[in-house]
Structure formats: structure tokens, C-alpha cells
């Protein structure tokens, strides 16, 4: 009989947790993905190596952009900076924002990092070799393509402009399309994820 009660208790708990899980799924502003995130290794200023797994235990936002981009990229990083400002100090310490350059030819790790830090001194800018960037973007299903002959600025880079959110255990948890890249929407998701 005791066994029965114990089982019942587990069952009730299970159903309770399950319902919790499913109701939470509806609540994120970003699109829920939940899959292991590719653990890249790239470089930041001073040629320091940075791996995604260095940030286990933190939430990591990743944006693929390039510093010669005057419109979409600064806007996305600006929104991420505003998102950070909507968090309290303790929450901020648990969030890392990373910009990965899709223009490794012009963006050295130094340039990429300086660029990112302009938006928030704790942001991190990363770059790498052509092969490394190709590999990372492929793993995240981000795309980029050099376009020649459009501008006197040299070439332009077509790129996907999603923002990715990696959870504390290194899972690719949420993805934000441009219409969802609003500071308050991302901050709301961060607060929810930090609560668990």
C-alpha cells in the first residue's frame, strides 16, 4: 500500500512538472528550439581563445554580424545593450552577449571586440579564420555571402540576422527573428530562464 501511495505521489508530481513544462513553452518571446548548441572556439582581442563552453552557467546571446554594416548590425547590438539595461546587476552578471563576425577578412578579433564593446563594455566580439567562421555559421544555420560590385566600400555581406540564446547548460534554447529582437521581449525571456 505504501508503494502505491509513493507511486501516486510520483505520478502527481510528474503530471505537475509536465504541465509546468508545457505552459512555460508557450511563454517565451523567442522561438523555442532546445537542442545542443555547437561549441565553437574563436578569438577575441589579444588573440585570446574563447569557447562557448567557457560560459556554462550563464545565458549567452549570439549575433552574427560585421563591422562594415551600418544599419542592421548596430541596431541588433543596440537592442541587446538595451536589453542588458533592463536587467538588474545580478541578472546582468549571468548574461553574456557575443557578436561573431561573418567578415573575418576585414574584422580581426581586435576590431570585432572593439566594435561589440562600444555597445556595452561587457560584450564580446569574436572572429576567426574563414574556415572557422564557415563552420560556426553552418552549425547555427546562419548564412552569409560576400557580394561584390554593389558598393564603393568594397564588398557587402548578405547575412541572416537572427539572435540566438544559449541556456546555462549549453543548449540552443531560443532564436529571435528581427521582429522579435526587442529589448523588453528578450529581457523578459532572460528573467524567466534565470528563475529556473
Amino acid at each position: 500500500m505504501r508503494k502505491f501511495y509513493l507511486m501516486l505521489a510520483f505520478l502527481v508530481l510528474g503530471v505537475y512538472l509536465g504541465s509546468c513544462e508545457s505552459s512555460k513553452k508557450e511563454k517565451f518571446n523567442g522561438t523555442l528550439l532546445e537542442q545542443p548548441a555547437y561549441d565553437f572556439e574563436l578569438k577575441t582581442a589579444g588573440d585570446r581563445k574563447v569557447k562557448l563552453s567557457d560560459f556554462r552557467g550563464k545565458l549567452v546571446f549570439i549575433f552574427f554580424g560585421y563591422t562594415h554594416c551600418p544599419d542592421v548590425c548596430p541596431a541588433a547590438l543596440q537592442n541587446l545593450a538595451k536589453m542588458m539595461n533592463q536587467l538588474d546587476k545580478e541578472e546582468q552578471e549571468q548574461v553574456q552577449v557575443i557578436m561573431i563576425s561573418v567578415d573575418p577578412e576585414r574584422d580581426t578579433p581586435e576590431v570585432a571586440d572593439k566594435y561589440a564593446k562600444f555597445f556595452n563594455p561587457n560584450f564580446l566580439g569574436l572572429s576567426g579564420s574563414e574556415e572557422e567562421i564557415k563552420k560556426v555559421t553552418k552549425e547555427y544555420k546562419a548564412f552569409y555571402k560576400k557580394v561584390e560590385g554593389q558598393s564603393a566600400s568594397g564588398y557587402l555581406v548578405d547575412h541572416t540576422a537572427y539572435i540566438y540564446l544559449i541556456d546555462k547548460s549549453g543548449n540552443l534554447k531560443l532564436i529571435y527573428s528581427s521582429s522579435k529582437q526587442k529589448p523588453e521581449l528578450m529581457a523578459e525571456d532572460v528573467k524567466k530562464l534565470l528563475e529556473d
Binding site: 554594416c69 542588458m84 554593389q150 566600400s153 541572416t160 528581427s178
Partner: protein, 148 residues
């Protein structure tokens, strides 16, 4: 009588003109490592004849181009525009995520609050000079707020 008619004709032709008004001109402040920025504005044609924006220049940039950002199957693409039609009675917006004036190879880094001169050249209205305000990243102001 004939003279009056001619005069009336001349006057009518003289009045059929585009009338360009530029508003809300601003330039995006960019990180010091960036060699480019973009200017945004609103061009209204209050006249009764169409006009076309042919080119733009600015003393802060070596090269200035008219660009547009397009979303194509999830890809953000920037493309150069040869010119932009400004139809009579219509307003054309240059705003983030859309048309913009691309400032290439900056000679001087625009700082928030500064004024940047833009010279717009129209097919019929000729040159129109505009003072654009440099807008910061927004979070700077918020930083200040939170410190007080």
C-alpha cells in the same frame, strides 16, 4: 489679351514644381573602429511635380551612396540604389531596416549630438542642404538615467 494668356501660361508652368522638404535627418553614431555609418531622413515632395533624388554627399564621408536593406528569405541584404523617385505629394522614408544614405570611409567620427551636413541632389530641385543630428546608441542616455 494674348500677353495675359502667355503670362498665365508662364505662371502656370512656373508653379508646376516639385517642392522638396527634408525632415527628421539623423546619422547613426557608430563604434570608433567602424569606417561606415548611415544617415536616415524623410523626404517629402510638397509640390505638384515628381522629382528624383540622384545623389547625396557629406563632408564627413569619402563616399556616399544610396542604399536599401531588403529581407529576402531570412537574409539581410544591402543593395545600392541608382536613384530614388520622390513623387509629387508623396513622402519617402529613409529609415533603419530600409532605405539609407550610406556614409563610407568616414573622415571624421560622428559623435552623438553633433550636426552632420548632407547635400542631397535632386533632378529638378537641385541641391538641398540638410543638417542631420548624430544619434547615439540610446543606451547611453539610459545609462545616465539609471545613475541618477
Amino acid at each position: 489679351m494674348r500677353l495675359v494668356l502667355i503670362l498665365m501660361f508662364v505662371v502656370a508652368v512656373a508653379f508646376a514644381k516639385p517642392k522638396i522638404v527634408v525632415e527628421e535627418a539623423w546619422v547613426r553614431a557608430v563604434p570608433p573602429v567602424s569606417t561606415m555609418s548611415a544617415a536616415f531622413l524623410e523626404i517629402e515632395n510638397k509640390g505638384d511635380e515628381n522629382d528624383t533624388l540622384l545623389k547625396v554627399s557629406s563632408p564627413i564621408a569619402e563616399i556616399t551612396e544610396i542604399h536599401t536593406t531588403i529581407m529576402d528569405e531570412g537574409m539581410m541584404k544591402m543593395r545600392r540604389l541608382e536613384n530614388v523617385a520622390i513623387p509629387a505629394g508623396k513622402s519617402v522614408d529613409f529609415k533603419p531596416g530600409g532605405k539609407h544614405i550610406m556614409l563610407i570611409n568616414l573622415k571624421k567620427h560622428p559623435k552623438p549630438g553633433e550636426k552632420v551636413k548632407l547635400i542631397l541632389e535632386f533632378e529638378k530641385s537641385g541641391k538641398v542642404e540638410v543638417e542631420a543630428t548624430v544619434r547615439g546608441m540610446g543606451m547611453m542616455e539610459e545609462h545616465h538615467k539609471s545613475h541618477h
